[in-house]
Structure formats: C-alpha cells, structure tokens
Point group: C2
Chain length 207, copies 2
DNA sequence: TTTAATTTGTGAATGAATTCACAAAGCCTC
DNA sequence: GAGGCTTTGTGAATTCATTCACAAATTAAA
C-alpha cells in the first residue's frame, strides 16, 4: 500500500470525531464540504484523504454517516481492542487513567508501572501499580500493544529501551525527549513544552 | 517577515532542548551535523531552519552553544515571562500545574478556573482555583497571555469563546475538539485520542 | 604560507502535500 | 425523462518543505 502521510491519518481521526457527533444526532448523510468546514480544511482535501482508501460517497448526495464512520474505524484499526500499559505512575499517568476517551475508543489499560517503592502496590485511580522489574514477565503473560511513557526525561530512553526489548511496537511518549527506537517501532510524542514554545513564537512574531 | 512553517518552529524548539543539554555539559561549540543527529533530522535541515532567522555559525567550526541557545530563545520569544491561566481544574489541570517544565521555561501560572462549586476555592497543587465567572474581571486586572483549556469537549467551545472575548490571543487546548477562533488567535491542540488512533493505524497497517 | 580538512549558508533540484478544476454520477422537479 | 442542481473522485497544476551540492570561510597542520 502507498505510504499514508501522518497529516492524513490525523485528519481521518478528526473526521471520525465529527461523524460520531453527527451519528449521535441521527443525521444520515454528510458532504465533504460540511466535513471540511468542521475540520478547518477544504472539501477537496477531505475527498483526497478518503480516496487513498476507496470511494465511499455517492455523487450528488455525499457520504452515509454510519457507513463512513464504520469505514474510518476500520481504516484506523479501531474495530478491535488495544491493550495499553502506562509506565510512570505520576500525575500525567493519573490523568490518563481517568481519561474516558481511552476506554471509549477501545483502548484498555492493563496496568501502570513504576520504580518508586512508595508508589508500587498503591492503585492509581483504581489501576494496579506494579514494579517495573515485573514488566517482562507480565508482557509475556498478556502482551500489551501500546506503552504510554510518562516518566521524567532522564529515564525516558532507558524505559523505552526496556519496553522495546519486551517486544512492544507502539509507544506514546510524554517525555520532552527525542527517543531512539528501531524502525519497526512507532513512537508518537506529546510534547507540551514544544506546544507552549509554539505559542510563545506565535505571540512574539505577529504582524 | 516570511511565514515560518510550524514544523520549523517545532524543530527549533527541539534544537534548543539539545543545546541546553550541551550547555549544561559545558561544551562550547556544536555542528549542524551533531544537532541533526540528536534531532533525527539532517544537517541541511538544521542549517535551513536557522537560515530563516540569520546566520549564527562559523564556517569550519560550527555554532557557539551559548550564543545559538540565546538566539533560539530570542526567536521563540522565551526571553520574557508568559502569564498562563488554566481553565478546568481536573486531573489534566493538576498534572499541568505540577509540571516543572512550565516554570523552567518562563511560563508562570496565575490561577486555575472552574465552574464546579465543589472545586472553586480548593487549591489545585497549591494554585488558587477561582470561579470561571470571575474570569473577565481577573483578566482586566492582570491579563494572561495564554489560556490552557482542559475542560470536557462539550464545554470547550463555550469556554474558548469566553477566553477569546476576554482578549486572550493564545490557547493550548486539551479537549479533542476542533475549535473555532478568530484569525488573530493562535490555538495549539494536544489531542491524545488522535495520537492513540495514529498508533492504532500504524499497528494495523504495517507491511 | 601553503595545503588539507571542516563546516556553514544558500541557490537549485527534488519530493511531498494541497488545491484546482472538471467530467461523471446521482437526485429532484416538472 | 429532460433539464437543472449537487457533489464525488481524480488527474493536473500548484504550492510548500526537504534535500542536494557546492562555493566561501575558517581552522589546523606541515
């Protein structure tokens, strides 16, 4: 399959969100133009994005809301459940465990891990917190698909090396660090410092 | 000034992070090649990125670490202090308040706001939590530069309208929603659902 | 002082993503 | 069922971003 750009996948994700909204309101069809207006893009962009995967619309009419939503879920791999572990039982970890969006979209959090003896054993928002030393054994018993890394920058690379060695192929990283991983492992980084500096730049360099 | 791409600004932010690391280790100069290796990019990219703002290097030698760090701070607008408010005193808000990176980079959090009477008045990680109804008056007294929005999706647009009306020009949004704002307001969105779906897509569509 | 070795800064070339523009296809009304 | 109105799907054109490639500067060594 032709390589799909990251930006395209992000937009598909946004389209799905709007479609779910429309689904909830019982609307039957939607045009690329309407979808574009909601997503801050153009109708041509919407149609091009979808065209990489097939043609799902009806000319003159638009797209069936439930059908397109279903197709997007399929494309994005949301038809199944993904198993997630969280490494780092701090404040960010706690916020993530409490975040409803995870479960809603089929991401099931199995456990949190930490190296701090004060944290191990004390549930985080109801989720068991285990010793990071236990990781490999647990992974063998019930392999997670995704590891969310919420440890401080200094330990991020070490933790990631360990996660990769255990065979996990997808990482969501909250440490403001560039991580080194083998090419078959996918990393997405959420970098708050970078977003803030982006705002700082925008505020500083306005016309 | 020529428009600078978002991707460029994000890389500048990354370069600054590496430079600070080098600064801490007392290194005097660095080449574009070294900077590129750290940032997972190419030396030509590094030089092109910097060239939008001037020429800071010495041929044959590289860049002075402290000088380039200073220039980047200047470019990114980090020479000053930015005032930040947080709207939504939930788990994400709490994680942000506790996050050291904010203060380290000159972002001072003034207060948090919420509409829930159970939360108003009870400090969040030491930060005062005020009634959202008080927002306009507070903004007049001490105008914040940036509003961080951590309320649920349903209320995000309403809250943002209010923030915009109060005159704030930069928003960091944690709600998984596309926000409508006037063109002079900059929004950066951190969308965890989108990142997770990106990972789901990557796991689903591998060779 | 010359020569060899680095490394920047930047036009030119390439590659990637977005937008244009229009034929093809479906609906609706008369 | 003809004509008008919509809206898709998609090559072609365009715009934007990255990479190439090399002259110009600088250092270090001989």
């Amino acid at each position: 399959m032709k390589r799909i750009a990251d930006s395209t996948v992000r937009r598909l994700s946004a389209y799905l969100r709007f479609l779910e909204d429309f689904e909830g309101r019982g609307l039957a069809t939607i045009s690329s133009d309407e979808l574009a207006r909601r997503g801050g893009t153009t109708s041509a962009q919407v149609r091009k994005d979808l065209s990489f995967f097939g043609s799902f619309g009806k000319r003159g009419l638009g797209y069936s809301v439930p059908e397109l939503a279903g197709r997007l879920r399929e494309i994005l791999g949301l038809g199944r459940q993904w198993k997630v572990i969280i490494i780092g039982a701090g404040k960010i970890g706690a916020a993530l465990v409490a975040y409803r969006g995870f479960r809603q979209r089929g991401f099931r959090i199995l456990a949190a891990y930490d190296s701090n003896p004060d944290k191990i054993g004390k549930p985080l928002e109801g989720l068991p917190v285990r010793d990071i030393l236990q990781l490999e054994k647990d992974v063998q018993k019930e392999p997670p698909d995704i590891a969310v890394v919420t440890v401080p920058s200094e330990s991020a690379q070490t933790v990631v090396d360990r996660v990769v060695r255990a065979g996990i192929k997808a990482i969501l990283n909250f440490a403001p660090t560039q991580l080194q991983v083998p090419p078959d492992v996918t990393v997405k980084t959420v970098n708050m410092a970078m977003e803030l500096e982006g705002l700082s730049f925008a505020l500083t360099n306005r016309d």
